[in-house]
Amino acid sequence: MSLKGVKPVARVLAREVAVTALLLLGVSVVVFCILYLAPGDPFSLLLEGQMSAGAPGQDVREAMGAPNAWHARYLSWLAGMLRGNFGASIRTGLPVLEEISRVGLNTLLLTLGSMAVTLLVAVPIALYAAVRGVNRVSFPLTMAAYVVSSLPVFWFGYVVIYLFLHTFGLFPLAFGGSQGTNRLYLLLPIVVLGLGNGTLSEVIRHLREEMGRVLSEDYVRTARAKGASVWKHAFKEGFLIPVTEIVASKIPFILGGAVIVEQVFNWPGMGRMAWQAAQDRDFPVIMGIAVLAAVFVRAGNLLQRFVYIAVNPGASRETIGRRVA
């Protein structure tokens, strides 16, 4: 990419980072408001075992030195976050940053892995359907993909586990199985989430339509007329941009699916922790996870914006990346 292209890209990225920061702030405000409105109190969780205390939380709150008024709590959290200190989980006492980064890694592995599986399945089908159109091969494959992506993901997980149990007689869980954590078992939840996260059919449709449109563009005809390889010319607009677009827009879905798959496959991920924290009203952990998840999603968007700009530097700055319809 020639030097000339760097200046606008750098400026765009700087603007993106600013927008992301603003977004993270917005996310934290929204999550905090919802939490504040929810009945129940994180501190009552600590007194679970003992019933006859006074109203839970009141004396405990002073003991933990938590400020009372809700906006004070938010501002103290925010000040802490800006200094990189996300506070400590009320339930386990571990510093939130350390806990969610460890757990976030697992979810990142699961999410990226399942996204790779989704693309691994969707791309061939979509490209074949785009080139060959509807025929004996592309139709059944597309139908199969539609069927798989319409299944409830946890039921699909159970089916896969049941088959695995009864065909191999081995326990497929990477975490918790006693035969040592065989890395191969990591694949199972990744494949299940990859196929079952409900985005497979949309990914195929989007890629198929985009590639089909590009293949009928004039400049692809010129490429064929000049004997050049169609794939080399159609690659950028027909494949690279649509893939990054659809991936960026599907991250929230896949993260959602991850919460379920992590429970079924006993995968210690961010989703499971978020689920536990929400029920405990473990305020610092929820905020930490909401921010981390938001970073995941924004990173996806940034990647997409970056690819869009890098691919056609001619695109002027304000044509905001084409969002996936």
């Binding site: 939490l35 409830p152 946890f154 409900g198 827009s249 989703g271 029920q279």
Partner: protein, 298 residues
């Protein structure tokens, strides 16, 4: 494999009414057909549920007949973990999605359209603000956001569907905005404005109706599918439709507890129902899109 092209003499006149159907691929017709079949089935089962025309009382607990396989003692599809008839609950279960699903679609589409037009059509600043908000909503992992809201208020299906709808607004906004941007490049809108058409008709008729109609139908059908899947996931986490009202989601969840022990049908029956329904909605969207798309050449 040789493809046949036969000229049918006498059939080539313009006037024949069937032109619309012959114009489309057989596949699209199959999609739309199957989709409509599902929609009819869903409507019929909704009506059957409302007027209580059910083979068995869906809430009659029968502890002697728990987890009975399909076909035992008059239960066509067997019984669930409380001995209640699965077929009756399956028919009644659609109620959890029919109206709430439509609500989810409405919540996703109406504000989505409004904001989309505003963003696409309005000034640059409106666009930036709306994009920021849609990015904000998009930045949440969907399920955690819904869980937080439900835990905060109450696990009621309409409530869940409103939240599902809201999380889909950004997709509709971007859809409409991209379409308007595309049309602007074609100075289609300036021409209409040049003719002095009131802005309202331009937006409603020309932009939304003629150009966005196909994509919105797809969004609607996808929205319905997603609403069902979302409720099922929530049921697994315990926050979907609560007993004793049946919903496909909570039937799959309670059935799944017995799946690994070998009783497959209590969870497989509703799971297949979900599969066929969502497949129906997807294909309906796909088929209609291809039919309508082929007509609206732009």
């Amino acid at each position: 494999m040789r493809k046949r092209y036969v000229e049918a003499p006498g059939r080539t006149d313009e006037a024949s009414g069937l032109r619309f159907f012959r114009k489309s691929e057989a596949v699209d017709l199959f999609f739309v057909g199957y989709g409509l079949l599902i929609v009819v089935l869903v409507a019929v089962s909704y009506a059957a549920g409302v007027f209580r025309l059910l083979p068995h009382d869906p809430e009659a607990v029968n502890l002697d007949l728990m987890l009975a396989p399909p076909g035992t003692a008059g239960h066509l599809l067997g019984t669930d973990f409380m001995g209640r008839d699965l077929l009756a609950r399956l028919i009644l279960g659609i109620q959890a999605y029919f109206l709430p699903g439509l609500l989810a679609i409405a919540v996703a589409t109406v504000p989505g359209l409004a904001l989309g037009v505003l963003a696409g059509y309005g000034a640059g600043r409106a666009d930036r603000v709306i994009t920021w908000f849609s990015n904000l909503v998009d930045s949440f992992p969907r399920l955690v956001l819904i869980l937080l809201v439900i835990a905060a208020f109450k696990p009621d299906i309409y409530f869940i569907m409103v939240v599902v709808g809201l999380t889909n607004v950004p997709a509709t906004v971007s859809l409409v905005k991209v379409k308007i941007r595309f049309l602007r490049e074609k100075n289609f809108i300036e021409a209409a404005e040049g003719l002095g058409l009131p802005r309202r008709t331009i937006v409603l008729k020309h932009i939304l109706w003629h150009h966005c109609r196909a994509s919105l139908i797809i969004r609607a059908t996808l929205g319905m599918g997603e609403a069902i899947l979302m409720e099922t996931s929530l049921s697994y986490l315990g926050f979907g439709v609560q007993e004793p009202t049946p919903s496909w989601g909570n039937m799959v969840q309670s059935g799944a507890n017995y799946f690994l022990q070998g009783n497959f049908w209590p969870s497989t029956v509703p799971a297949l129902a979900i599969l066929l329904a969502i497949l129906g909605f997807h294909l309906l969207g796909d088929g209609l899109n291809n039919l309508l798309e082929r007509k609206a050449v732009y």
